[in-house]
Symmetry: C2
Subunit: 340 residues, 2 copies
DNA sequence: TCAAATACCGAAAACCTTTTCGATTGTTAT
DNA sequence: ATAACAATCGAAAAGGTTTTCGGTATTTGA
């Protein structure tokens, strides 16, 4: 059984494909009689238009692309879920790609999507993305895109982000307020903007409270296995600093959970001997023990914002106007639990 | 800037589009000279073929669909990740849709994908799917699909599953072997095949060990909020049975984690006073406290298997042969941790 | 030198839909 | 009765690619 086409409908009815098409599209130059006949037959045969043909003719695909570093990730999967839901409700399909924190793959995927002819793209950059010709190419070909969460500040496009610096500042300030003085930071690699901004927020909070920054308290965790990395660096920290450290602020929850794991296994009490503050508010953070204090970064809200901005850009492009390039900043808040 | 087409290449070179196309495709009836010229120009202009046109002409889309109940879910996101990776490596794109455990949505999405003209579909059924006309339709139109994890036994198609019944049987047998006698079961709704089979495995294990099944120990958790449901039913169980219950076997990890949460908050020691056995081996299970014993159900492996048999089916169809309809059963094993 | 074989190329159809524009029929007004 | 007009329809082109088939032009063999 093959999908029925306009031509077959037309033949069956003894009219032209043009008329069938117009009947379906509600054109006024088709008589009520034939319109009714067309509608009935298409219904009966459950005709549905050939998407490839429409794409070819109309030069759009009703499809958007999403490229993210990792799918198995609470924050990102929440983002994806929100995007897909809203896209679906507007009859857009989404093609999902995972860059796996691999820059070459990311580049290849952008090109793939470009040749596929997507109507728009939402992208969160890999940790190793340092050049942006692939994004420029999107601009060259005038396909709207919005960066989300892990962005490049230097490429012009719409963005939806949180104020990483401020959020980190608030978290560390809270720690200081609570009396913690010697505060370590588990950061991510040197590249991703997130990592930089959160570090900067950490640094600023210390400065504003007259606590000198001790570089030996800043641990770089960038081998992509956050849980193990958390364990590893917690151990390293204890070896280097004994139990003199009051608290840790980590760049993400998974690192914090790894650290907690290590501390529990070594009978280091949380938060009595050491407090732990995470970042992202993964679901897991609320069910582990002790429950993790963290910065709430809502993936659903960010995903929703991203797809909405993208639709705005698409609409905008259709109207022939230049890109909006707006950046929307999503609020975060501190969620305080047992670990601090 | 618009994507360059064959026609433009041809014009520039003063040859026909047919020749350009053939040069690109490696046909033998084009001279080395002109082939070289074509290749150079397409490279320079970085030509990439229009996907819609190819789809229209070749009657395939190099795209597969994936419909699953929930994305924010460790098991399913692992499945998705594996599918996308392998698809990507074979130059297939994947369109992801979430049915949200909503049958009507699932049906709509199948139709959407059908009209989109996907080359194949991987689907995991919603909890409320009881009729299968939408799957029949896939068969009518001869689009290959494979059911994964949450399947219907009565519709003929390729499937990749685990032996839920056996896995549950093994888990409960282990519990009994360890000396637990009064074993409760937190099951899911009455419909999904998973839930039925795991319950049946539980029942069989009891029978084979001469433990009478006590229906009051079977709790149905089907309101889609597993963590809260775990808490709720743990509390209910304690109210109804005091501390006489030795162990719980839950239909999934999240329910177990909810239950553990409740027990810890009420100073009920695990596993001393009550043991908990989960199902799926979510990552979370290995980092919570106490670490959860569970059935290991590897999403990556299942996803990989699914996409591979889908490709087999697609290949098969291309060869004009009838559907394979093979069902592959993925091994599971018990991972024993602190909770038992 | 001529016939046959080969190398190379292009026209055209097909995939399916949308939309413009011209054509035809029927209707109204003068 | 004729002109003007409205109503209804269809031909055709366009969107980009693939592939068959036929047609030159060139080379080979005798």
């Amino acid at each position: 059984m093959r999908p029925v086409t306009l031509k077959e409908i037309a033949k069956e009815l003894g009219i032209s494909v043009a008329t069938v098409s117009k009947a379906l599209k509600g054109y006024q130059d088709v008589s009520p009689k034939t319109r009714k006949r067309v509608l009935e037959l298409t219904e009966k045969l459950n005709y549905s238009p050939n998407t490839a043909a429409i794409s070819l003719r109309k030069q759009h695909t009703k499809t958007i692309g999403v490229i993210i570093p990792t799918i198995v990730h609470y924050f990102f999967s929440s983002v994806i879920e929100a995007i897909i839901k809203i896209a679906d409700s507007k009859d857009y399909l989404v093609i999902l790609l995972q860059s796996d924190e691999n820059f070459e793959l990311e580049k290849k995927q952008v090109n793939l999507l470009l040749s596929k002819g997507i109507d728009g793209l939402i992208i969160s950059l890999s940790n190793h993305t340092r050049t942006y010709t692939h994004l420029k190419k999107l601009q060259d070909y005038n396909v709207p895109f919005v960066q989300i969460d892990k962005i490049s500040k230097i490429v012009h496009s719409s963005k939806v982000i949180i104020d990483d610096r401020k959020a980190a500042y608030n978290a560390v300030s809270y720690l200081i307020e609570k009396g913690y003085k010697k505060i370590a930071h588990f950061r991510a690699g040197l590249n991703p903007q997130n990592s930089i901004d959160r570090y900067l927020g950490y640094k600023k909070a210390l400065e504003d409270n007259d606590i000198p920054l001790d570089p030996s308290l800043v641990y770089i965790c960038d081998n992509n296995r956050d849980f193990e990395d958390g364990i590893f660096n917690a151990e390293k920290m204890i070896k280097e600093h004994g139990n003199s450290v009051d608290a840790i602020f980590t760049v993400n929850d998974m690192l914090a959970i790894g650290a907690i794991h290590y501390f529990r296994n070594n009978d280091i009490k949380i938060p009595e001997e050491i407090a732990v503050f995470g970042f992202s508010n993964w679901f897991m953070s609320s069910v582990i023990s002790p429950k993790l204090s963290t910065v709430n970064q809502d993936g659903s809200i960010m995903g929703e914002a991203a797809i909405n901005v993208l639709f705005e850009e698409i609409e905008n492009k259709r109207a022939g106007k230049p890109a909006l390039n707006k950046t929307v900043v999503i609020d975060t808040d501190l969620v305080i639990r047992e670990s601090t």
